[in-house]
């Protein structure tokens, strides 16, 4: 049990983070794309597509944080204290993004301010998350539970690349979401954004994949030795097929398919990165077993997670059903 529980928890937290990245990804992406709208009405519509569900989506991030705290307290402690500044940037950006939903519809003369807060907040949240992800994948050499190289050790070409890549990735999710949820001129704008965004995201994915083997020996061995290469080959193969399908769906002006395929595309990229981390929770050396909480702690929360996560998924599905269909700028607040 002591050996199995950390594995289960690795997957639960991975699932939680993936849910967050996908669900808040398209909300943040919609925010990143607001400058491309023609006018304030379209911006209202873009926000209203996400207004009823953004809070639930963001809660997956809190689950990821709390789950990490419960299941791998050492990883939680190390990651957050060493990535102090990127985490701070993410939190501040999330504050502005979050309150913008409420404030923008309550403000009169300061309305423009919360439009900017929404865009910039979304952008920096995405960037900070990309940096955190990049720094984590790159590995954090530790000494006595502390990062080796000080407050800015996360700052590297690779983490900057992943930071920007996530901004574009979320923007792609956002564009396909806007395509799904709107019609007319705004939908057209989103369609037109999807193609260049897709090219950019594919380029970023190739760049990150090409860079990964040079980051560290374990990553190289993970991907490029036999038989690992065989086991992992479905990931790049599926990603390539997915990219082709996504391209075709966009060209054919499909409404639902691009969104679903963009989610899968993003999910595969996420799996590709996480496959490189395993069995570490904080690369290059802290394994999930070393960082694991007491079995009684992991077991206690596991019971709750197994009961509650299906319930959460159930009523999340329900709320998406309630708010299904196209959104117009008038379907607004209350």
């Amino acid at each position: 049990m002591e050996n199995v529980l950390p594995v289960i928890w690795f997957f639960i937290i991975g699932f939680g983070v993936a849910m967050y990245v996908l669900l808040d990804g398209f909300v943040l992406g919609s925010g990143i794309l607001t400058p491309f709208a023609d006018d304030d009405h379209q911006r209202d519509t873009m926000m209203n597509t996400a207004a009823p569900i953004w809070d639930g989506n963001e809660t997956w991030l809190v689950l990821g944080g709390a789950g990490l705290f419960a299941a791998f307290p050492r990883a939680y402690s190390i990651v957050l204290s060493t990535l102090y500044l990127p985490v701070l940037l993410m939190l501040i950006a999330l504050i502005f993004r979050g309150v913008a939903f409420e404030f923008r519809f309550k403000a009169d003369s300061s309305r423009w301010l919360w439009g900017i807060a929404f865009t910039v907040g979304s952008m920096f949240t995405a960037f900070a998350q990309g940096v955190i992800l990049g720094a984590l994948v790159e590995g954090m050499p530790l000494k006595g539970g502390k990062y080796l190289d000080g407050a800015f050790a996360w700052f590297s070409p690779f983490s900057m690349l992943t930071g920007i890549a996530v901004v574009f990735g979320y923007a792609l999710l956002g564009a396909t979401w806007i395509v799904l949820k709107t019609e007319g001129r705004l939908q057209r704008i989103a369609f037109d954004l999807t193609r260049p965004l897709m090219l950019a995201v594919i380029a970023f994915m190739l760049l990150v994949s090409a860079w990964l083997p040079f980051l560290d020996d374990t990553l190289r061995q993970r991907w490029f030795t036999w038989p690992n290469f065989l086991y992992l080959s479905p990931v790049p193969v599926l990603t390539a097929i997915n990219a082709a399908l996504l391209w075709r769906a966009v060209l054919r002006n499909r409404e639902l398919a691009p969104f679903v395929l963009a989610l899968c595309f993003f999910g595969l990229g996420f799996i590709g990165l996480v496959a490189g981390i395993w069995p570490n929770i904080v690369p290059p050396s802290l394994t999930i077993w070393e960082a694991a909480a007491a079995p009684s702690s992991q077991g206690f929360v596991l019971v709750g997670a197994l009961i509650m996560i299906p319930a959460v998924l159930g009523y999340t599905f329900y709320s998406y059903r309630v708010f299904r269909g196209k959104v117009t700028s008038d379907t607004g607040y209350h």
Partner: protein, 459 residues
């Protein structure tokens, strides 16, 4: 204490103080909304529905600010207090995870239905969503108070090599102070909301606007406070006995008692002098201290001198915060008693001076909640886990520059965001409970997507 640690303490105190204001308000507000909607479903009177939507807008704004300031909290343990997270993660992590799993998702998801679903779901379903949000706030309170109470009165653990391991989850969750602190906080939150509802109603009465609705609000608030304040005082008293048993140094600081004595007086006011280990300018009532704290005329109360200097909490903040909290409790009692008397004499609708009193009490709950938490948390010092782990040993050791950056960022950002938030709240309150969205739209089939033409028509 290093500068970085000191600033981290300031930062935690700052972000948590801001955060607690919102849950303290929204817990009660969610139940007030559930009450209003239930009342409307029974009576179908328009002014009740107007009130529901009025308070719903205020709820949405406050809840939004609570959410974003709460996310900051869930990362603070790791960023600035990572040694605490490592040591107590086995215990605190699961409690917070249960909070997310059982409460946060429930609140967040049904909040969406509550705010935006009026035209898309049936009235009953909408009421169900309101109730889910209200229940969610209490489940959340349950877990967070459990975690905090464990830090006050740890139980059900084994301590090996500086790491806490759970031995009995039952004892961890239902630790010795939990059953006192949970009702104390829930009642405090309800009282905070009731004071706001009553205070705002009084404002409208003074200005002679929304009079019918204001009268209803004032009566509801008054009835609620009249029932709750006496219970709260009782719970507070029992909580005090619990503190005496499990955290005697905190009690000594609350009362500014230096010597262990029998038949201690109650200090109404004093200026505690920590260097000289005595009180100046004290005003005392003989024997009342023992009577309240021990329920005996000659009961013994431990003094601070029984504890080494490095095991005492700071006396002044704890002493004064506690007195302000109790003072506010007594003011609320006075507000309820006076109000009931006026109600009975049928003068509630004309007693202008009383409206001013109620209006002045609008922020009382917030001050009371803050002071109560300052008493509890500063009184726990110098420990983060009472008697077992010192706050100084919990600090992450992050660089001073990082903490200066984050503290400055939080102060600036909170000033902007909560400044605007408060301004928008005032705007809503000034506008008052005007007409709610049209009823006709609600009778549409549930979950029917809106077409563009339809909503243009409604506009």
């Amino acid at each position: 204490m290093s500068d970085a640690e000191f600033l981290s303490r300031i930062q935690f105190g700052f972000v948590i103080s801001f955060h607690i204001l919102f849950p303290a308000f929204t817990i009660g507000l969610a139940w007030w909304l559930a009450f209003l909607e239930a009342l409307w479903l029974r009576k179908r009177e328009d002014h009740i529905r107007d009130l529901y939507f009025f308070w719903l807008r205020i709820f949405a704004l406050s809840f939004g600010m609570g959410v974003v300031s709460g996310i900051v909290m869930s990362f603070q343990f790791g960023t600035n207090w990572s040694k605490f997270s490592t040591a107590a993660g086995n215990i605190i992590g699961p409690l917070l995870s249960y909070e997310v799993l059982t409460a946060f998702f429930l609140e967040a998801t049904f909040l969406g239905v509550m705010l935006f679903g009026w035209r898309r779901v049936s009235h009953r379903t909408h009421f169900f969503a309101t109730c889910m949000v209200a229940i969610g706030t209490l489940i959340s309170t349950f877990w967070i108070i459990s975690a905090n109470s464990w830090m006050q009165t740890p139980a059900g653990y084994e301590l090996r090599d500086g790491i806490f391991y759970p031995a009995s989850w039952w004892s961890v969750i239902f630790n010795p102070s939990f059953f006192y602190r949970l009702p104390h906080m829930v009642l405090a939150a309800f009282l905070t909301t009731a004071s706001v509802v009553g205070g705002i109603a009084a404002f409208y009465l003074i200005r002679d606007v929304h009079v019918e609705k204001a009268r209803l609000m004032l009566r509801c608030a008054l009835a609620f406070i009249a029932i709750t304040v006496p219970v709260q005082i009782l719970v507070g008293d029992m909580h005090g006995l619990n503190v005496r048993e499990y955290q005697p140094a905190k009690l000594a600081a609350i009362e500014a008692r230096w010597e262990t004595q029998r038949g201690v007086p109650l200090t109404l006011f004093a200026w505690p002098d920590e260097k000289a280990e005595t009180n100046r300018y004290d005003i005392e009532v003989p024997h009342l201290g023992s009577l309240i704290l021990t329920h005996e005329w000659d009961g013994e109360v431990k003094g601070l001198k029984d504890f080494p200097v490095d095991q005492r909490p700071p006396v002044k903040p704890v002493f004064f915060a506690f007195r302000i909290m109790v003072g506010i409790g007594l003011l609320m009692l006075a507000m309820a008693a006076t109000g009931l008397l006026l109600w009975w004499r049928k003068r509630l609708n004309s007693a202008r001076w009383y409206w001013y009193f109620c209006a002045a009490m609008t922020p009382a709950g917030f001050v009371g909640v803050l002071c109560g938490w300052y008493t509890a948390e500063i009184g726990r010092q110098p420990y983060v886990v009472y008697g077992l782990m010192r706050t100084a040993d919990a600090f992450s050791g992050v660089e001073l520059g990082s903490v200066i950056t984050s503290l400055t960022a939080f102060i600036v950002v909170y000033a902007i965001v909560f400044g605007f938030g408060t301004w928008y709240l005032f705007k809503l309150l000034r506008k008052g409970p005007i007409a709610a969205p049209p009823l006709r739209a609600m009778t549409q089939t549930a979950a029917r997507p809106m077409s563009a033409a339809e909503s243009k028509g409604a506009h």
